[in-house]
Amino acid sequence: MEKEKYRSMFLVEAAEHLQAMSDILLRLDSDPENRQEIDALFREAHSIKGMAATMEYEETARLAHRLEDDLDLCRKRGYMSAGEINQMLAGVDLLEALHDDISQERPERSVEFYLQALTLEERSEGPVSRERSQPPPGEEEGTKIAGAAEPLLIQIDLVDTVPIAAPRLLVLLKRCSEFGIVLKSWPSLEHILSDKVDGRLLVQLRPQLPTKEIHAQLVGYSEVEEISFPKPVVSTGLGARPQKSASVRVSTERLDQLINLTGELITTRYQLQNALKQRHLKDLDDGIGQLSRLVKNLHHQVLQVRMVSLRALFSRLSRIVYDLARSSAKKIELQTDGADIEIDRAIVEELVDPLTHMVRNAVDHGLKDKDVGVISLKAWRDRDQVLVQVTDDGAGIDPQTIRRIARERGLLSSAEVKMVRDYDLYQLICQPGFSTVDTVTGISGRGVGMDVVKTAIEGMGGLVLIDSTPGAGTSITLKLPLSLAIIRVLLIESDGARLAIPITRVIQAIEISPAEIHSSSKQLMVHYQDAFIPLLSLRKMLKQQKGGKMKELPLVVTEVMGRRIGLVVDRLIGQQEVFVQRLAPPFDQIPGCAGGTILGDGQVVFLLDLQSLLERRKKRI
C-alpha cells in the first residue's frame, strides 16, 4: 500500500476523531447516563480502529480496539462511571501520543501497559466492577490502577563524541533492565545489535525503583550527556496540541469560489490588455478597479483557508481545567464563549502554550484559596483583531505585593513605585523572573512565567493586557492579529525613512504640542489619559540625526515591556495592510527589525520591533 500518501490524511482525520472523543468524554462527565453520547463515543473509537488497522499502525489499532470493546460494554449498560471516564480519557491521551509518534515518523510507543492496566482491574475487582448494575456515582476506580501501571520513559542522550554508540547503548539498556521490566526500547535490541543507532536511547519500563534512584544509578557514565524522564502520556497540553499539520482540509465550496475568482481574474486581464492596446484610459481605469476588488476578495478567501476556529484549543483548555480541578480537589466551573471565532492556524498553534499557562495560573494562583471557582474563557473579534480573555473570580493580584516586589527587585525606584498606576503595575508581572508566589507547585510557578506568555504573544505582534481587582479576580486579555502574514500597520517616518509598526501594538497615534511636555529629572514625560508616560525619540533609538524643532510632535502611544511609552516620530503617514516577509538570515538578527514589506510604490519598508530595540538599549546602559 502507498502508506505515505495516506499518512497525512489519516493524521488529519484521526485528530478530528480524537478531538471529538475528548469533547464527548468531558460532556459525559456531567451527564454519565447519556446513551447517545456513549454511542457517539463508541463510533469514534471504532472509526479510529478501522483507519489505524488499514494503515497498519498496530499499536494505535490495538488500543482503539480495546477502547471500543470497553465502550461497547458501557453502551450496553447505559452509563459510564467517573473512573471509566477517567480511564477512557487516559486512553484518548495515549492515542494522541501515538498520533504524535506517527506524525513525527517515530515508531509507535507500546500500549501494553494500558491494556495490562485494564486487565489488572479485571483481575482485582472481577467482572463485577465492569458489569455493575447500579451507576456508582463519583467512584474513582480508575485512579489506583493508573498508579500501579504507570510506565516510566527514560531518555538517555549520549555526548556527540562517543566513539561507538551501539555497545554503549547496549550496556545502558541492560542497566535499565535492572531497574524494572523493560516494555520497549527505541532503538530496539535488534536494532542496537545491528548497529542501527544514533546517540539516543529511549526505554519504556515498569519501574521497580523510584525515578530518583534510577537517575542516580545512571549519572556515572561520562558518555551520557543527559538523562531525562519524558512523560509517555501527557494528559495536559503537550501530547495533544492542535496539530501542526502539513495538510489542510478545504471545503469544495471554498475551492469553487477560488476557481471562480481565478476565472474572473483571467477575464480582467484580457480586458486590461485590450484597453491598453486601444489606449482606452476609461476602460483601463475600470479594469484596475475591478482587479483590486478581485485581488482583495481573493486575499480574503485564501486567508479563510488558513483560518480555524478556536474550538479545538478551547476544548483542550477545558480538559486542562478538568484535570486541574481533579488534581487540586476543587470545583471549577468553566465558562467558554466565542469558540467559533476564527483565526490564522499559525496563531492558534502559537497560542497553545501561553493559554495553557494562563489557565494554569488562573487555577493555581487565582483560585489558590478557593474550593469553588469560575474560570471564563472568552474570545471575540474587534475589527482586525481577535481578543482572547482568561478570567478567574479568585483572589486577584494585590497591587501592594507587586509594589513591594518591584522595589525589592529593583524594577522600579521608590519614586516610581509611588507614581505608577495599578494598571501599569499589573503589567510588571510579565517581567522575566517576576513571581509573587514563592512556592513552586506541580501546576504552575516553575519558572515559566507570564514573561514567556508575553514574549510569545508579542512575537506574533499581539499585546497582553492584565487587569485585576483584589478580592474579585484577575483577567488577562490577549490582543491578536487575525493573520500572521498580512497585517495592518501604521506607517511613520523618521529622518526620511519610512517604517511600519503593527497596528496591534499601537494604542493611539496623536499629535502633541511642545508645551505639553514635562520634564522629570532627565526624562521627558507627557500627560496621557490619567498618567505620565515617558517620551522616547525614535531618531535617537535608531541613532539617526537629531531632528529640528517642530510645532506639533507626532506621537505613537504604545506599550513596551509592560509600560506605556510615547514614541516621538517625524510624521504619521497612515494605516495600510501589508504582506510581511521575514528577512533572510543573517538579517533576521538585526535588533529592532521584525521583517519587511514592499509598498505599492515599490519601496521596501521595515517592520519596527520596539521591544527588541529597547531591550538592546537597556543592555547597553
Binding site: P163, I164, P167, L170, V171, K174, I192, L193, Y221, S222
Partner: protein
C-alpha cells in the same frame, strides 16, 4: 582499596599500561594473563572482583574465555577491551554477558570510570 583486578591482554604493552593505571588508583592487580586459557585458569584460582579482557587473543579468544568464566561464576564482572573497529565483537561480548567495555586506545579516566562503575553495580 577499590578491589582486585585480573588483567588479560596478549600485548605486554597493553598489560603494563592497564596495570599501571589500576595500581596507581589503588587497585590490587592479582594477576595478568596473555590469552583466554590463562585467564580462565587464573580466574578460577583468584576469583578477582574485576576482569579486563582483550577480545582478540591467541589460543583462546576473549569471548570464549568470557563464556567459560561466566560458567564458573555467573556473577563475574568482566569488562572487555577492544579497538574502535571491532564494534561487533563488543556487541557480541556484551550479549554473552560482559558488564561493560573499554575502547582502545585507553584513557586513564575512562578505564577507572568503567571499572569503578562495574564494581559498584
Amino acid at each position: 582499596m577499590p578491589g582486585q583486578v585480573l588483567v588479560v591482554d596478549d600485548a605486554l604493552f597493553m598489560r603494563n599500561m592497564l596495570i599501571d593505571i589500576f595500581s596507581q588508583a589503588g587497585w590490587e592487580v592479582v594477576g595478568e594473563a596473555e590469552n583466554g586459557e590463562q585467564a580462565v585458569m587464573m580466574y578460577e584460582q583468584q576469583r578477582p572482583d574485576l576482569v579486563t579482557m582483550d577480545i582478540v587473543m591467541p589460543v583462546l579468544g576473549g569471548i570464549e574465555a568470557l563464556k567459560k568464566i561466566l560458567q564458573l561464576e555467573p556473577e563475574a564482572r568482566v569488562v572487555v577491551c577492544s579497538a574502535l573497529g571491532q564494534k561487533h565483537l563488543i556487541l557480541d561480548a556484551l550479549t554473552v554477558g560482559a558488564r561493560d567495555f573499554i575502547v582502545k586506545p585507553f584513557q586513564r579516566e575512562q578505564v577507572l570510570e568503567v571499572a569503578e562503575r562495574v564494581i559498584a553495580s
